[in-house]
């Protein structure tokens, strides 16, 4: 089953209703663990671990959506589910998702799952391991083209670059945006997100963009 279909199922009213039958965390976590859609998603990630980045991109996307202040976040159940599956599949990405959920507003189960992930999966030096840049490029040339829309692609690239431990971050962004045929406006959006973080990787980009060229200069990233 494609990730798109699984996303639709997990983000449905029926899924939220199923999770919200629980009055407490114990039953909620059992529900997440036993849910058929989440189990299928977990199988997808086991088959191709790089797909976890797509799920993480979806988390980042949902977290950015504005929420009606009168009500609970309508994506609370889905956010909790994605964080749950990510933590089971890749501890480091699970922790990233849990931290992302910290900026989501008016959530209930998402916060509880995030707290549980951060408490039960302490950070380790192996947390930020990702595949090599060429493997990531290949991934975007293949799977991501079929699975992601423009916005999700941009989110996934941003997250991949965020997880990169430093050198050649800008080159990675350039390679991934080319491989995924990201539009120039979406590419600018990805770089804009780093700009908001005052990411030093952008300095050579800003300088050379003015001249219509970019620089492959290695830039250290202090994450």
């Amino acid at each position: 089953m494609s990730l798109r279909k699984l996303f639709l199922e997990i983000e449905s009213g029926a899924f939220a209703a199923r999770l919200n039958l629980a009055s407490g965390s114990r039953l909620a976590f059992w529900t997440l663990d036993a849910d058929p859609a989440l189990n299928r998603l977990e199988e997808e990630l086991a088959e191709d671990p790089q797909k976890a980045l797509i799920v993480l991109g979806r988390v980042e996307q949902l977290v950015r959506i504005n929420v009606d202040h009168r009500y609970e976040n309508p994506h609370d159940a889905a956010l909790s589910a994605y964080c749950w599956v990510l933590a089971k599949s890749n501890r480091g990405l699970g922790r990233v998702a849990a931290h992302l959920l910290g900026s989501s507003r008016q959530t209930w189960w998402a916060r509880k799952v995030a707290d549980a992930v951060l408490e039960n999966f302490p950070a380790s030096t192996k947390d930020t391991e990702t595949k090599t840049a060429p493997a990531q490029v290949e991934f975007f040339e293949g799977v991501a083209q079929r699975e992601l829309d423009e916005d999700q692609t941009a989110s996934a690239i941003y997250l991949l670059a965020s997880l990169s431990t430093g050198t050649g971050k800008y080159s990675l962004i350039s390679a991934l945006t080319s491989a995924s045929k990201l539009s120039s406006s979406s590419r600018a959006e990805v770089l804009g997100w780093f700009q908001q973080l005052s990411d030093p990787v952008l300095l050579p980009y800003r300088e050379h963009e003015e001249h219509g060229e970019y620089d492959d200069e290695v830039v250290e990233w202090a994450y």
Binding site: A16, A17, N20, E72, G102
Partner: protein, 172 residues
Amino acid sequence: MSGEPIDEGSEHDTRSLQLVSKNGTWIRNVRKDERPPSAMEDAEAFAQAQCPGITTRSLSSTYNCAGLIFAARRTVVFMGELKRVLRDDEYELITQRPRLTPGDLITYKARQDGEILHIGVVLSVRLVPADAEIEVTVLSQWGFDGEYIHSELNVPASYGQIREYFSERRGI
């Protein structure tokens, strides 16, 4: 998570209401946002599909099953508190179903030694002469999916089928 209280639901948690049991012991609780109306409509449809024959009483998500019983629907009471609250509030286990009466409580578990997963209040008790069986109708809040009137066994499977009954009645 940054900004979240470490001692969630305690008297130090600004999201808690002042709630204590009969002997003055704090009952952990946290107030919660209402879910969007469309989500509650979906929840009702889901509940009706899962358990045909239930009657919707209310569609609110600011309290859970324990909050309905022990906090008058004002807040979410932590499920881990239930065994202690039942004891502190001097509830006694009813072992014979014919002794049940409206106002008594019913709990649901998946395992005999497990945590209470759901709790409701007995609305009516009826003897079915043909079967010589006791038919119990319950009012309970189904997590954050709304409040329903249902027969004792007509609950989501996830609540478990192990039921116990409690009463605080005196002088009868």
